[in-house]
Amino acid sequence: MNLERVPNEEKLTLCRKYYLGGYAFLPFLWLVNVVWFFKEAFMKPVYTEQLQIKKYVKRSALGLLLWVTVLTTWITIFQRFRAEWGEVGDYLSFTIPLGIP
């Protein structure tokens, strides 16, 4: 969707929708928000709604960073220690590799 021809209020509504939607455990919405509205928020000349859009983009970026950290940490721990967890590791897995612990 080309944001060039979208009126500013609609831009704000879109940004807000994506920002609020990301709270439903959907960090990709925040990623889209940040990528899509980055130019609008920080590189376009000032307009009325830009302050709000900036706020949303900043908060989306923060939320995204948090998710990335949590997921990376969990994935690293799981991949590294699943074998040592024995039973718990097996019950947490969907596919268990054959022949290796």
């Binding site: 024995g86 039973e87 097996d90 019950y91 897995s93 969907f94 596919t95 268990i96 054959l98 022949g99 290796i100 612990p101």
Partner: protein
């Protein structure tokens, strides 16, 4: 669409041209795509259908035997390869010093080492195991003749954790403190390797391999071999890992995306029979039944999968017991002794007494035809094939012997049974624990008197215990040349004659131990013809004319032993064997095989299950009382009536 107002003819032409070119480009792309697909398809077809390129590259190995992974409560043993096989540059090992090339100085690791059987020793295998980053696998060339030096891949103290000699029973005898039973044992079978180990026969394939190595890989006169080099790929990926608890858990996971079995418990069947028939449906203790248990072991193993000749370790024992049972057939029918004789052949004894521990467990849980209290004594036939100077040794448990006179009697009877025969029986003469035997599991449960007959006084005389070399050649079973298979079947070898003597001793002892009359002893003799045939069938060729006679055939008929009717002047029924061509065929609606539970063509009737079905009657008070009981004081009369409800 070009606007008529603002375009000149040139612009219009340009626009038309661009449209045409883009259309052409799209078509060309489509055509190219179709072309590529067709080409790939034909290449694939050629690759799969003709395989000519594959045949020019790869030479498949025909006879290969892998080593597989086994797991127990704490460890995994055996070999593992990568899912896509282990590829290594071939290297034929010449000596132990040559290992340096493989482990350190060779320039093209990983190597796949070809070992002659004389080099398949513990020290070389351990060095290869430690340098396993440079070792892709090992292939052992098994010779056609046994090596002269004895070697056993089993542990030196077999089944030390599951016998009767634990720290509680007698700490001085635990862990082979008194006698190391298998001194030649290297324990290789119980090591874990993370590369595949295969065994190959000495045949044309092996010559091809050696030739390939000579042509391409040999480092001659200081020059290093250059690529392309001869390589071998071995596939033996094992699905199970860590230990038995893990693999059984992974067998049973329900919500996995691709549930599949990763391991199976080792299991098979014991074979047992009794001279006087026992009612097998009435389990548990049998009053008045006193049983002499004659035991032998059925199984063995080696380092490699499915090679387990076990000639001396297993076959000698159970063949002697089978021949003894055959020798007793007349005496037990004509003059049946007071006690019953139960012949038991246990399977899985190599792997911590699977069969005998199961039978003891069944007896303890009243799940077997007799009970442990029904057992009078045990006579086990162990390794008896190699008896040098025709001497047999009678092993008994020193701990339980102190309290038992039955043991002394049993030994005396064995000695008297052997008198007049070509074999002598003696006791070891010093206090020694029992060798690894099924009898140990019975002793764990009860102090039953018993003796284990072996051909070794202390350590095993078997120098190939649980090895692939423990075969007919090791027992010196040899036939004159130029005999047909049927003639070989009937030819009585010297080994068979020697085993017949052992079988006669066992048979006579069993008869007296069961309370039979001494006068009949002279007529109990094992048949050397029977012994040589059984030995031929189990050690040389199992597809012989005698075994074929014994295979059940149910092509046309089924056989049933029916009770029959009682003749006019008697109450005992006379049974007979009935051959019937009548059969059973399944009557389950096809809807359930097809899983079409809403089928309109087939019956879909099912019946519910239930827990208990019962009924009862009692007096019940008025409904208003149930509601108002706490609210208002109820009339006594009704209370009295209500509390009078008799339990029914």
């Amino acid at each position: 669409m070009p606007n008529q107002e603002d375009g000149s003819a040139v612009e219009q032409m340009a626009l038309l041209l661009s449209c045409y070119i883009s259309f052409l480009a799209r078509t060309v792309v489509k055509v190219l795509f179709v072309c590529v697909c067709v080409c790939v398809y034909f290449i694939f077809l050629a690759g799969v259908g003709c395989n000519s390129v594959e045949k020019k590259i790869y030479v498949n190995l025909n006879y290969t035997v892998p080593c597989v992974r086994l797991l127990n409560a704490t460890h995994q043993i055996g070999c593992q390869s990568h899912l896509s096989g282990n590829v290594g540059v071939l290297h034929v090992l010449e000596s132990e010093e040559n290992l340096d090339w493989v482990l350190h100085s060779g320039l093209t690791p990983p190597y796949l080492v070809i070992l002659e059987s004389s080099l398949f020793t513990r020290s070389i295998m351990m060095k290869l195991k430690n340098g396993s980053s440079r070792v892709a696998g090992v292939a052992v060339v098994t010779p056609n003749a046994n090596p002269s030096q004895g070697t056993s891949p089993h542990t030196s103290c077999p089944n030390e954790n599951t016998g009767v000699y634990t720290e509680n029973y007698d700490p001085t005898m635990a862990r082979c403190n008194v006698t190391v039973w298998n001194p030649l044992g290297t324990g290789l079978s119980y090591e874990e390797f993370d590369f595949p180990i295969f065994a190959m026969k000495e045949d044309n394939d092996t010559q091809v391999i050696r030739q390939c190595y000579m042509d391409h890989n040999r480092a001659g006169n200081g020059s290093t071999p250059q690529y392309p080099l001869c390589a071998m790929q071995l596939y033996s990926h094992m699905s199970a890992v860590t230990d038995t608890a893990t693999c059984m858990r992974r067998n049973n996971i329900n919500f996995s995306l691709s549930p599949e079995m990763v391991c199976d418990p080792l299991s098979d069947f014991n074979v047992w029979a009794s001279t006087r028939p026992l009612n097998n449906t009435a389990k548990g203790h049998k009053e008045g039944e006193s049983v002499v248990l004659a035991a032998a072991r059925l199984d063995s193993r080696s380092f490699f999968f499915d090679i387990a000749p076990g000639a001396e370790s297993g076959v000698s024992g159970f063949v002697a017991l089978l021949a003894a049972a055959h020798a007793l057939r007349n005496a037990t029918q004509e003059a049946p002794p007071p006690r019953n004789i139960l012949y038991a052949f246990f399977h899985g004894e190599t792997f911590d007494y699977i069969g005998s521990s199961r039978m003891v467990y069944d007896m303890e849980k009243n799940n077997f035809a007799v009970d442990l209290d029904n057992i009078h004594s045990v006579l086990e036939v162990g390794q008896v094939g190699l008896h040098a100077e025709s001497r047999l040794w009678l092993h008994s448990d020193p701990v339980s012997r102190k309290n038992s006179s039955v043991n002394e009697e049993l030994i005396l009877r064995l000695q008297s049974a052997a008198s007049g025969l070509n074999v002598s029986v003696e006791e070891p003469g010093f206090s020694q624990p029992l060798p690894p035997s099924s009898f140990q599991r019975f002793l764990r449960a009860r102090p039953i008197p018993g003796v284990v007959i072996e051909d070794h006084r202390s350590a095993f005389t078997n120098s190939f215990y649980e090895s692939m070399y423990d075969n007919a050649e090791y027992l010196n079973i040899s036939y004159p040349p130029d005999l047909t298979p049927d003639e070989q079947l009937e030819y009585v070898t010297d080994t068979a004659k020697a085993l017949t003597e052992v079988a006669t001793v066992v048979a006579r002892t069993l008869y007296i131990q069961a309370g039979g009359a001494e006068s009949r002893l002279g007529s109990i003799n094992a048949d050397p013809q029977m012994v040589t045939r059984i030995l031929y069938g189990f050690l040389v060729r199992s597809n012989n004319s005698w075994f074929q006679q014994l295979i059940p055939s149910d092509l046309m008929y089924s056989y049933l032993w029916v009770q029959g009717a009682a003749p006019p002047n008697s109450t005992e029924r006379v049974g007979f064997c009935m051959r019937s061509a009548a059969r059973l065929s399944k009557a389950l609606s096809p809807a359930f095989d097809l899983h079409e539970y809403t089928s309109k063509d087939y019956s879909t009737w099912t019946e519910s299950r239930w827990k208990t079905i019962k009924g009862r009657i009692f007096l019940v008070a008025s409904h208003e009382l149930e509601v108002n009981f706490w609210a208002s004081p109820a009339p006594r009369r009704l209370l009295g009536g209500a509390s009078f409800c008799p339990p029914l």
